[in-house]
């Protein structure tokens, strides 16, 4: 067996308790080990991605129990890609958290960070539906700690809402899994695919209930309307570097939809044929529309970034809901882009909030205003999908993939008008925050005393160099994704092809029992 597959889970699982138990009182050592751990994770992710590129699906049997009886981890192109994305996202964020001093504002930031990475990587790699639930819980428990990191009344209240909503989601997840298990007698995803196909159509009422319940759970994670209400308040009130890391969490929902509804309840399975696309597509369109309106209406830069996350999920799920190879290839490219772009906006929003507070209204000019406004501009271009960055390529691919769809006109209208509203909203925020402050009539120069008070209130980061470098790292990621759009798209196309031939996956997982 190839032991690299379990490494992205084992490494953070060992590192996080080590940080808690041994390095508890040594912030510097915590930082060193945390960054080294993320770099090692990146190395592992690159290794397994290189292994997955061969197209072979590898299976890791935990405890050496064969597939339908034990839990398996499965490495295919999609899971390798998502693990790589997680590691690529985690590196700049952990550096930013160190540079901005966020990890020093509460306890156990680095340990929770690695528990979160463990949950996310586990969710991407597992081949068992109940194990998926367990990894969801791992990442959620860590996210509860990260979300309330640093404390404060408002953040804790938002944390209560966030935990409540996710506990409800977990309960629903268990109901869905119970229903599916009671019909099929298995929770291994490959085995599930085989059993679902065997069930006669007249006996599938319960199974359809289970499939739809499961879709609801994933839609809660992916913040699809009308299940998105948890997202703006939680992300806007979380420490913003953490919100940037949470950009991958909504993608876990999207990944799960892709995995389960191409494999177990695939598009050609009679039981759930057309079920997912029919429900998901209108919801995704409304998600995009409401997200764009939210960007336009936000009074606070953190909420605006949260609504940006919602719009990107809308675009992504429109592509997924088409359920054909071209659209899924576009969706996978867009996952990569939108995760980085959302994270970039959250990090820039944090820089703005550290210096002047986050209200979208003219205030006195802040330190390093030029550099931060340039970064905001880049993030806005990427998010809105304007050339030359990868958002443009991603949206173009989604539009192109939806050309042949029956309601292509609606999709095109929503995506294009949504992008336009997003541009207007981001431009409004950017000009109010960065430009209006230089207008002496709007903002008369402040008294020196007041300025001192301001700096004390919004202390800039202790290591600005590191913070800026990490944000530029995210920008570099977007630029590379644009420059290498060809190879990236080739990879995602092959991934989509692999997703649409589930037989390879099923025989790789179940084949060993013979």
């Amino acid at each position: 067996m190839n032991h690299w597959i379990v490494a992205p889970i084992v490494l953070p699982a060992i590192l996080a308790p080590f940080i808690i138990m041994v390095l508890r009182y040594h912030l510097d050592l915590q930082r060193i080990f945390s960054v080294a751990g993320v770099m090692a994770l990146l190395g592992i992710a690159l290794t397994i991605t290189a292994q997955a590129t061969t197209g072979e699906i590898q299976v890791y049997e935990l405890g050496d129990w064969p597939a339908p009886f034990g839990i398996v981890l499965v490495l295919d192109r999609m899971s390798a890609m998502m693990v790589l994305l997680t590691a690529l996202l985690a590196l700049p964020i952990v550096l930013y958290a160190i540079g901005s001093g966020w990890d020093d504002r509460g306890k156990h930031f680095h340990a929770l960070f690695h528990f979160q990475l463990m949950g996310v990587c586990g969710a991407f790699l597992t081949g068992d539906a109940f194990n998926l639930f367990v990894f969801f819980e791992v990442l959620l428990i860590a996210s509860y700690g990260l979300m309330t990191h640093g404390g404060g009344a408002v953040r804790l209240k938002a944390g209560v809402q966030y935990v409540t909503y996710n506990l409800l989601g977990s309960t629903l997840f268990l109901f869905a899994l119970g229903t599916i298990y009671s019909v099929t007698g298995t929770l291994n995803m490959a085995d599930l695919a085989v059993r679902v196909a065997e069930i006669p159509p007249e006996d599938t009422a319960l199974l359809r209930v289970g499939a739809v319940l499961l879709l609801l759970v994933f839609c809660i994670k992916a913040a699809v309307l009308p299940l998105h209400f948890w997202l703006p308040a939680s992300y806007a009130n979380a420490p913003l570097p953490v919100a940037a890391l949470f950009a991958i969490m909504t993608k876990v929902g999207a990944y799960s939809i892709l995995r389960v509804y191409t494999l177990a309840f695939g598009p050609d399975v009679a039981v759930t044929e057309g079920l997912v696309g029919a429900w998901l597509q209108p919801a995704a369109l409304v998600t995009l529309a409401v997200g764009a309106i939210g960007i336009l209406g936000s009074q606070h830069i953190a909420r605006m970034a949260a609504f940006c996350a919602i719009t990107s999920m809308g675009t992504l799920l429109i592509a997924i809901s088409l359920f054909n190879e071209v659209a899924i290839a576009a969706a996978l490219y867009y996952i990569f882009h939108s995760t980085l772009a959302t994270a970039l906006l959250f990090l820039v929003a944090d820089m703005v909030m550290e210096r002047r507070g986050g209200v979208i209204a003219p205030t006195a000019p802040m330190a390093q205003s030029g550099l931060i406004s340039a970064l905001f501009f880049v993030g806005a271009i990427a998010m809105a999908g304007m050339p030359p960055l990868s958002g443009f390529v991603g949206k173009l691919l989604v539009l192109d993939a939806s050309r042949g769809a029956p309601d292509a006109s609606a999709i095109w209208a929503v995506i294009l008008i949504g992008s336009f509203v997003t541009i207007v909203g981001l431009a409004r925020a950017g000009s109010l925050i960065f430009w209006k402050c230089h207008d002496a009539q709007v903002c008369p120069p402040t008294e020196p005393d007041e300025e001192v008070a301001d700096t004390a209130l919004f202390a800039p980061e202790p290591h600005p160099g590191l913070a800026f470098t990490s944000v530029f790292g995210v920008v570099l990621g977007l630029v590379l994704l644009t420059l290498f759009a060809g190879p990236a798209l080739e990879y995602t196309s092959k991934t989509a092809e692999q997703l649409f031939t589930p037989d390879i996956y099923i025989s790789a997982v179940l084949g060993r029992e013979e």
């Binding site: 408002v154 804790l156 309960t171 109901f175 009671s182 009130n237 986050g358």
Partner: protein, 119 residues
Amino acid sequence: MEALVASAVGVMTAAGIFLILRRRTFPVILGLSLLTYAVNVFLFATGRLALNAPAVLNKYEDVPYTDPLPQALVLTAIVISFGMTAVIVMIALSAYLSSKDDHIDMSASDSVDAPGEDA
């Protein structure tokens, strides 16, 4: 027995949903606990209900057995929901202590004025 278990799940779920729609954190957390009890019983029943049957196969004779997998799932679910309830109690308690207010919803000023900043 089936009717008893089914109605128990139903009543607990209904009571849980009623409670999570309350406005203060304490009833909401009680509602979440009730929902997790309901889902645990539900999971237990997904392996079909069997009385006085062991959870292992008998190698020597063909005797009834009960499905062991849901029991393992329920065990996992109980541990997770117990831990989660403890976490939400602690977060709710510290939110209450720092804001002197145990309403689950946030006032409009909370979310606009200073998200992320200590209020």
